[in-house]
C-alpha cells in the first residue's frame, strides 16, 4: 500500500530525513517511536504533502502511484489521513460545515454523489458516538478554543468521517486524559477492518496497549534504525533510547 524508498527530505535547507525506508501493507498497524526531533512529524508532513518540506531524493508510492507528485488534497482524496500533532484552529468555519465540504469533495473525487444535509447529519451523528463527541463541538469553529484533548479527539472524529485507507496519527495520545485515551483508541480500533492501515507515532507504550501494533519502529536521525514486534515498545519503555543511539552512532563512526 505505502512504500517509502531511500527518502531524503529537508526543511529550510536542513536535512531531516536521511534515507528512510518503510513499507506498509493493507491492514497493518505500524508504531513509530523515537527521540524528540528525530524526524517523525517530518515524515508525517512529507506524506501529507506539506509544501515547506522538500524531498531531495527517494520515492514514495501509495497504491502504486507516485505520492510525491500529488497535491495535499489529492492525497487526502486518495485515502491518506494525517491526524496532526498540533491541530490548527480555524475561526469562523464550523466543524460541521468544514467536514461536510471535506466529505463531499472526497466523494466527488470518487465519482460519488454529494451527501445532502440530512444524510450528512446521520453519518455525523453515528461517528460522533464513536468518539463520544459532544454535539456542541460540531457547531463550534474548527478547533477554536478546544482544549488540547478535545483537539485530538476532533482529529479522530474527522478520521472516522473521512474513512481513509491509511491513517497517520502523530502523537494523538499526548495530552489525552485516561478516559479520552481509551475513547480515542476505541475509535481507532473500531476502524480497524483488516484493510485500513495505520501509522501510529507515539512516545508512550501505554497507547500501544490499546492500539496493538503489528510492527514497532524506531526513527532516529532521519532513519528507521530498529524494527521489531510489539514487544520492542516494552523494551524501549524500560531501557530508553540510549542503547539504540549508541548502536547507531558507533556504527556510523566505525
Amino acid at each position: 500500500m505505502l512504500s517509502i524508498k531511500d527518502l531524503v527530505a529537508s526543511v529550510e535547507e536542513k536535512q531531516i530525513l536521511k534515507g528512510l525506508n518503510f513499507e506498509v501493507k493493507p491492514g497493518e498497524v505500524h508504531a513509530i517511536m523515537g527521540p524528540n526531533g528525530s524526524g517523525k512529524s517530518t515524515l508525517a508532513s512529507v506524506l501529507a504533502g506539506r509544501e515547506e518540506y522538500e524531498v531531495n531524493s527517494g520515492s514514495v508510492t501509495f497504491n502504486g502511484e507516485d505520492l510525491l507528485e500529488m497535491s495535499p488534497e489529492d492525497r487526502a482524496r486518495a485515502g491518506i489521513f494525517l491526524a496532526f500533532q498540533y491541530p490548527v484552529e480555524i475561526p469562523g468555519v464550523s466543524n460541521a460545515n468544514f467536514l461536510k465540504t471535506a466529505v463531499n469533495e472526497v466523494r466527488k473525487s470518487k465519482g460519488l454523489e454529494a451527501l445532502d444535509s440530512k444524510q450528512f447529519l446521520k453519518v455525523m451523528q453515528e461517528k460522533m458516538k464513536l468518539v463520544e463527541m459532544d454535539k456542541t463541538m460540531t457547531q463550534r469553529s474548527v478547533n477554536e478554543g478546544f482544549s488540547g484533548g478535545e483537539k485530538k479527539r476532533n482529529e479522530i472524529f474527522q478520521m472516522a468521517m473521512l474513512e481513509p485507507s491509511l491513517a497517520i496519527l502523530d502523537e494523538t495520545d499526548s495530552g489525552l486524559d485516561i478516559d479520552a485515551l481509551r475513547i480515542v483508541s476505541n475509535g481507532v480500533n473500531a476502524l480497524r477492518d483488516g484493510k485500513r492501515s495505520f501509522i501510529v507515532i507515539t512516545h508512550y507504550q501505554r497507547l500501544l496497549d490499546y492500539i496493538v501494533p503489528d510492527h514497532v519502529h524506531v526513527l532516529y536521525k532521519g532513519r528507521i534504525v530498529k524494527s521489531g514486534p510489539k514487544e520492542l515498545a516494552l523494551e524501549l519503555e524500560e531501557k530508553g533510547y540510549d542503547w539504540i543511539k549508541e548502536e547507531v552512532d558507533s556504527s556510523v563512526n566505525a
Partner: protein, 440 residues
C-alpha cells in the same frame, strides 16, 4: 485644512456644472434655497479634494478628470420598472424603494403595505414639510466637506423615511440606489433623510447597483439619520456597483439620549468607493455599532473613513471593520474616535483586520483615538496579514481543494462582519450574496 483643487479640467468641469445647474434650475428645493446656495459657494471655493488633502491622502479622485460628467437634473426621466429591479430586493418582505439616477422612482418601487406611522416619500415632494425642513441639510455639515457641498448644491430629489414616535417597523425598508446610464458619464447626487422619532424602531437598507450602459458615474450620496430619544435604527449599506462607478458616500448620524444605532457598510463593488461615516453620540446612554467589510479585487480602491464622536457621558461604541484585498486593489481604513471632555464613562472599541491576497494588493489602516475625558475605556487594534497558510493546509489535508479552501477561509473571515447584523433574514440574504461575490 487644505483647499487645493484638482489642477485640471475635472474640478473646473464640476464647478461649471454647479454654475450651469443653478442657472437652469436655480436652487431646486425652495425650502432649502439658502442652504443650497451656500453649498454651491462652498463647493466652488473648495473644489474636488486632491491627495494633498490630509483626509484624501490614499484615495485619489483623479479618475474624475478622465470624463466630463453631466449632472443629472429634474428633467431627467426614470425608465426602470418594477420587474427591472425585482432582483435587487434583499428579502421577500422588504419594502423596496428605487432611486434612479438620484430621482425617486415611484413606479419601480414596490411597497404597498407601509406600516402605520411610517412615511416614505420623494424628497422633492416632502422637502417643504416641517419635519423634513427641521433636519434636511442641517446635519451633514458641508462647510469643509466639498463633496457634501457638491451634493447639497445639486440635490433635487432623493428619499425621506420618517418613523413616527413609538412606531416599530421590523420589516426592512430598502432603498435601491440605481445608476442607470445610456452611454453618457453622469454626476448623480443622491440624498437620503431618515428620521426616527422618540421610541421608534426602523430597519433601513441602502443598496447600490449599476444598470444600463455602465458608463462612468460619480455617485455622491449624503444620508442624514436623525435618531431621537430611545429610538433605534438598524442600517445597512451594500455597495455593489460596477467598476466604472466612483462612489462617495457621506453618512451622518445624530443620536439623542438612550438611542441605539447599528450600521453595516458592505462594500464589494465600485471602482473607487469612499465612505465617510460620522456618528455623533450627542447625549447620554447612546449605543452605536459600526461594522464594515471591504472585498476588493482588480484595481478597486475602497476607503472607509469613520468618525465616532462621543460628546456626552455613558455611551458605548463598537466598531469592527474587515477587508479582503486581492489583485491590485487598495483598501483604506481610517477610524477616528473622539471622546470629548464631558464624555466620562465612555466605552469605545475599534478593530480593523485585513487580509491581502496578492503581492500587489495594499492596505492603509489608521486608527486615531483622541480622548479628552479621563474615566473612559477605549481600545483599538489594526492588523493586516496574509491568508493563514497553516489553516489552508489543514483544509487541503482533509481533501478540500486549494481554491475552495481559500474561498472557505475568506468567507469565514468576512462573514464575521455580516454575522453581527441583528435581522436574521437580512443576515442570511447578505451571506448568500457574499458567497456569490467571493466566487465571482
Amino acid at each position: 485644512m487644505s483647499t487645493s483643487t484638482l489642477n485640471n479640467s475635472s474640478a473646473e468641469s464640476f464647478t461649471q456644472a454647479v454654475d450651469h445647474f443653478r442657472e437652469l434650475y436655480g436652487n431646486h428645493l425652495p425650502a432649502q434655497k439658502s442652504l443650497q446656495a451656500d453649498a454651491a459657494a462652498v463647493f466652488i471655493q473648495l473644489g474636488i479634494p486632491t491627495t494633498k488633502h490630509e483626509e484624501w491622502k490614499y484615495t485619489s479622485l483623479a479618475v474624475l478628470a478622465k470624463n466630463t460628467y453631466r449632472s443629472v437634473n429634474p428633467s431627467d426621466n426614470c425608465s426602470l420598472s418594477k420587474s427591472d429591479v425585482a432582483s435587487l430586493a434583499l428579502t421577500n418582505d422588504t419594502l423596496l424603494y428605487v432611486i434612479e439616477n438620484g430621482k425617486f422612482n415611484a413606479s419601480a418601487s414596490n411597497a404597498n403595505a407601509l406600516p402605520k406611522g411610517i412615511t416614505v416619500g420623494s424628497l422633492a415632494e416632502m422637502a417643504g414639510d416641517a419635519r423634513v425642513q427641521a433636519h434636511l441639510m442641517k446635519h451633514a455639515d458641508f462647510s469643509d466637506e466639498s463633496l457634501v457641498a457638491l451634493n447639497t448644491a445639486l440635490t433635487f430629489d432623493g428619499i425621506v423615511i420618517i418613523a413616527d414616535a413609538k412606531t416599530e417597523c421590523a420589516t426592512p425598508i430598502q432603498i435601491a440606489v440605481v445608476n442607470n446610464t445610456a452611454g453618457e458619464a453622469l454626476n448623480i447626487p443622491v440624498r437620503i433623510l431618515v428620521i426616527a422619532e422618540k421610541n421608534a424602531i426602523v430597519n433601513v437598507t441602502e443598496t447600490h447597483h449599476s444598470f444600463g450602459s455602465k458608463s462612468p458615474v460619480l455617485v455622491n450620496v449624503v444620508s442624514e439619520v436623525v435618531i431621537a430619544e430611545q429610538a433605534r435604527v438598524n442600517y445597512i449599506k451594500l455597495q455593489d456597483e460596477d467598476q466604472n462607478t466612483c462612489h462617495v458616500n457621506y453618512h451622518k448620524v445624530n443620536m439623542a439620549r438612550d438611542s441605539y444605532q447599528h450600521i453595516s457598510t458592505l462594500t464589494w463593488g465600485g471602482g473607487l468607493v469612499r465612505n465617510n461615516l460620522n456618528i455623533r453620540l450627542d447625549d447620554v446612554n447612546c449605543t452605536s455599532y459600526l461594522n464594515g467589510l471591504t472585498i476588493a479585487k482588480d484595481y478597486q480602491v475602497i476607503d472607509h473613513h469613520t468618525v465616532v464622536d462621543h460628546a456626552m457621558p455613558n455611551c458605548y461604541s463598537n466598531e469592527l471593520y474587515k477587508g479582503i484585498i486581492d489583485g491590485h486593489a487598495q483598501g483604506v481604513f481610517n477610524g477616528k474616535i473622539f471622546v470629548r471632555k464631558d464624555a466620562q464613562k465612555t466605552n469605545a472599541f475599534q478593530s480593523n483586520k485585513n487580509v491581502l491576497l496578492s503581492d500587489d494588493a495594499s492596505m492603509n489602516a489608521k486608527p486615531q483615538l483622541e480622548i479628552f475625558a479621563d474615566d473612559v475605556k477605549c481600545s483599538h487594534g489594526a492588523t493586516t496579514g496574509q491568508i493563514d497558510e497553516e489553516a489552508l493546509f489543514y483544509l487541503r489535508a482533509r481533501g478540500i481543494g486549494e481554491v475552495s479552501g481559500r474561498a472557505l477561509l475568506n468567507h469565514a473571515f468576512a462573514a464575521d462582519v455580516i454575522e453581527q447584523i441583528p435581522d436574521e433574514n437580512l443576515k442570511s440574504a447578505l451571506l448568500d450574496r457574499l458567497t456569490a461575490r467571493l466566487n465571482a
